[in-house]
């Protein structure tokens, strides 16, 4: 292959599969690419003025030794959650967003997992924390943290998404934002815990029980009602996140984890599970987290998160430094199952090509996709469209708004459009 200044490819070698430069997904496997910040004549980096490659300074001395709790490289300090502006009258509330555009794979590092709190992060002492199961049970029970650690556990990779994620896209004007600022209320981790059915079985659920009121130990005693059928299906009391005890901001020492459903129902700092006949009608399932339609009726208990994807690189507020071939990559997920297919368009949805799924395709987990794309210096609109194992296809923004209306705020899962201009600048746009 001839090395050219066109990102490492001769144009006529490229197997084009859709409009405006999309290239066969298998191309990356065969020949690689020059992409963001790596292309052109980079074969002189690390070399001296005479072009001879020299041993770097850090290879000429021993480095520091071990550490008790590792931290990221000092060169990756830009990987930060964005915390937003705290509300002065309610400082414990608010959210921080994951830096999706800087992450790869599907697992969100614990320090970068998004946060959403309703009364701040409580400092729960596990030695004093209790998990109570009461209400319509044969025998109300109380569990200590230490005892819960002795139960058989399951480990599952699941995404968690705030139902308000991407809500700014209901607005009439496209926000000038990044993948992080618009979509950063989604993360994915391996959650390890006790199937809730195990603990419910121990307490003995009465036949008239149909719901479970889950309550947290935070200042707001955040509460949500979970239908018993879901609780017995795949809900767990999670104690570990990516192998270590759950972080305080994710509910240490334990949280409910309700796979595929809006994040708010996975109650953090879980301290009570009360079996009831009816839903408890908590503030966060009536006044909040309900979806008002254009006819002014509001949908309640709209639990599952929609079939969704977005391109994380290149994405909003990035820029393309030169013409050439780029790796377009992103994430896809669905509350209804696993990701079966992701298609990408570079011409605003006129033509589509299948992206390669680089990751596992687990139930209710993030999947990672990619496809090579040649930017010829013109305008374009990059989009991705996910299909899940239940056959759901991610809708366009227009189709999503037609279904949900403009008054709704939660559960946005329309197709994301990143507009590229001739300067290579990338912006969130509507088509």
């Amino acid at each position: 292959m001839t090395n050219t200044k066109n990102g490492g490819f001769m144009s006529d070698e490229l197997d084009r599969v859709a409009g405006n430069g999309l290239i066969n997904r298998r191309h990356l496997l065969k020949v690689g690419l020059g992409g963001l910040g790596t292309a052109l004549a980079t074969n002189t980096f690390g070399a001296d003025a005479g072009g001879k490659l020299q041993i770097p300074q850090w290879s000429q001395q021993p480095g520091p030794g071990t550490s008790s709790y590792g931290s990221p490289s000092s060169f990756t300090g830009h990987l930060q959650r964005s915390a937003g502006t705290p509300n002065p009258i309610y400082p414990g509330g608010g959210a921080s967003r994951s830096p999706l555009q800087h992450l790869q794979g599907t697992i969100t590092p614990n320090s970068l997992h998004f946060e959403r709190h309703h009364s701040g992060v409580p400092a729960v002492d596990p030695a004093q924390h209790k998990l109570v199961i009461n209400g319509l049970v044969d025998q109300p029970l109380m569990f200590s943290y230490e005892d819960l650690l002795k139960y058989p556990m399951v480990s599952k990779i699941y995404f968690l998404e705030c139902s308000g994620n991407s809500g700014t896209l209901y607005g009439n004007t496209p926000a000038d934002g990044s993948a992080q600022s618009i979509h950063g209320l989604v993360s994915c981790a391996e959650w390890t815990g006790i199937p809730l059915s195990t603990l419910l079985d121990e307490a003995g659920v009465k036949t008239e029980a149909k719901w479970i009121a889950a309550v947290g130990a935070d200042g707001a005693s955040m509460g949500r009602s979970v239908p018993l059928a879901k609780a017995l299906d795949d809900v767990m009391v999670a104690l570990y996140q990516n192998g270590e005890p759950i972080r305080p901001e994710q509910g240490y020492p334990m949280r409910l984890f309700v796979p595929g459903w809006e994040g708010n129902i996975s109650v953090k700092w879980l301290t009570q599970l009360k079996l009831t006949r009816e839903a408890s009608q908590f503030r966060d399932e009536t006044s909040k987290y309900t979806d008002t339609m254009t006819d002014r009726r509001s949908l309640q208990f709209t639990f599952p998160m929609g079939t969704k994807s977005l391109i994380t690189s290149p994405s909003g507020q990035m820029s393309l430094p030169h013409k050439g071939v780029y790796k377009v990559t992103g994430i896809a997920w669905s509350g209804a199952g696993s990701i079966r297919r992701v298609e990408v368009s570079a011409d605003g949805g006129r033509s589509w090509a299948d992206a390669m799924i680089e990751s596992h395709q687990s139930d209710k987990a993030l999947a990672r996709f990619s496809i090579p794309w040649q930017w010829d210096g013109g305008d374009g609109i990059l989009q991705s469209r996910a299909t899940d194992s239940a056959g759901n296809i991610q809708p366009s923004r227009d189709a999503h708004l037609a279904e949900r209306g403009l008054i709704s705020f939660y559960h946005y899962h329309g197709i994301q459009s990143w507009g590229i201009n001739t300067e290579g600048e990338i912006k969130n746009v509507y088509t």
Binding site: I89, H118, P140, D147, S221, F303
Partner: protein, 178 residues
Amino acid sequence: MFTLKTLKFCFALISAVFLSLPASQAQTVRLGQAISESQLSNFDLVAGPDGSGFPAGSGTAKAGKAVFDSKCAACHAANGEGVSGNTKLVGGDIHSEGNPLRTVGSYWPYASTLFDFIRRAMPANAPKSLSGEEVYQVTAYLLFLNDIIDEEEILNKESLTEVQMPNKDGFVDLSHLH
């Protein structure tokens, strides 16, 4: 000293112990400690729309004004009109043009939610600091400010569940879909 023979013996012993347990028995751990509902009376704060979980006591809007003025008005303003979007407690019309203002009066479907939320989460800077009486009083005051009950009406466990909220029919329960 360990020989191959002793290692084989240990392995056989370990295998025998594990293989002799049926799978279900090996998985059964039951460490929950029995507790009675009366032991949970201070702990269980869930108050539902069917009247379950409400404490004894009562309150009127008239009594609630003083509590509201001293404990709530800093964020929710003197008459519940709020100082920002999420702090508005009165007014609004769900059928108004554009994005409607959603408040206790215009949006909340159940009066029980008001009691439940105030008792567990308010005031934001000192949650759970109000007495049961005070929660009834503040709940009554907010229902009064929204023209839902009279200033003198006594709110208690029974009367609270009978309060008809203006938007009670405005919700479509989709829980049966999941």
